[in-house]
Symmetry: C2
Amino acid sequence: MYFTKEQFQTYQEQGFLLLNQYLSPDEVEIMKGELPALFAEDSPGKVLEKDKNTVRAIHASHTRNEVFERLSRHPRLVEPVMRLLGSEVYIYQFKINAKAAFSGDVWQWHQDYIFWRKEDGLPTARIINVMVLLDDMNEFNGPFFLIPGSHKEGMIDTSEKKLTNVSKNPTDSEDGSSWKANFEANLKYSLNPETVADLVSNYGVTSIKAPAGSVLFFDSNVAHASPCNISPFTRSIAIITYNSVENIPFPIENPRPEFLVSRDYRPVEPLAEDSLLLKSLV
Amino acid sequence: MYFTKEQFQTYQEQGFLLLNQYLSPDEVEIMKGELPALFAEDSPGKVLEKDKNTVRAIHASHTRNEVFERLSRHPRLVEPVMRLLGSEVYIYQFKINAKAAFSGDVWQWHQDYIFWRKEDGLPTARIINVMVLLDDMNEFNGPFFLIPGSHKEGMIDTSEKKLTNVSKNPTDSEDGSSWKANFEANLKYSLNPETVADLVSNYGVTSIKAPAGSVLFFDSNVAHASPCNISPFTRSIAIITYNSVENIPFPIENPRPEFLVSRDYRPVEPLAEDSLLLKSLV
């Protein structure tokens, strides 16, 4: 049991739960040690910032990197999620957002579920995000903003916007990377300003400020965003999205790449508590 | 006497002093009432955000608007500044930065004095900024970041950068508005990332979070910046820059427009304490 009864209630009520320093400094250090090589890699799920140089996000590192594979099976992440979703779970998506010092750009206000519904045919919001802070997140380095309780609104359908990124980059359709529009600063299903203003007026707004190793569990319908990082402090996070094995996407035409929406539906088997610390990594 | 002895010391030590709710809610309301008309006006010192629509900044409103003229002569602003500078003062520059909800863009890390030195021939940093918060400034709406004590470094000469804005906008030189490059998100004399990282490492970093009506006095060599505003809360401020009458700029070729660097060197005469509240505005 990693959550108290009160913590489960808080999660249900607010749509998120922050656990301060839930993973140890040693675990954080091991994970951070992997980032330079992963960011340097020319992997298919790599997204750059507008400067075309700084890494914004990488995807599916758990399929290529032993440390992040172990993170994705960490019992402190997986067991509470199974309990919250009431079933076994599989890894739907795994990403690392870099939010680099001086360069990390905005993530506009959005809910996650609408992307997965519209792009991947995900039947319900029976899916949970787990964000692992790989750096301290503070008021200066583009912290995560949340509208607590906004998950109660369910999926808010936004009219699909014209994507300036797509028209600006004629190679997008040629190299099959139109999916990138969902990961750049100009998000496809962002919430419009009036909706955000209403939500904040009704529910308020909060931010996550916590040391590295803290973990945020959050509902896929909680509205969230993060501002640019103009500080000297890089703010990297890993986000593992666990889907219920009873919530497999409908078959759709032209599914997004495997690194965005995994078709490996095998249930995650949690490892032992100290697995991330083991030296004998393959 | 508006500052205590301790407050004067704090200002000298940190390079800034924040006075919470230094002006009254009634005074704020009167000033805010003027903004829609001023923002709508097609004034020469108007700067737009990258969306070419939202107002980013307007200049010299104190020369056209009775309320802001009275603000610029408010004894709570002028008297401490005269004391800090040890002389009479005149208004060097007056601007209102809008930092609009959902649209207000970054101000990169910079010191102010270098702009005035390089562009206007200002002999010394014997000049003070007074920022009046016209809205609450909070962690969500692009608050002002400061490096306390960084004024002790004096003017840090940055190598002049190539301005992407200028090359992108061929009309700049034609309509004589190349000055705008100093007011857009891509600042001409911004501090480079290595310098900012060093300063933050040596001095730390802080942010201003205070209700409307609060006033920040700050040194022209304190390094500062502000991130984008992705929140539903507009964050407008007025900044009045008072120069010592003993620090008149050298004559230079091609001076910037009057609304950026006033040639009206007449000393400011402070008004009575309640002047902003008077109903009989002209």
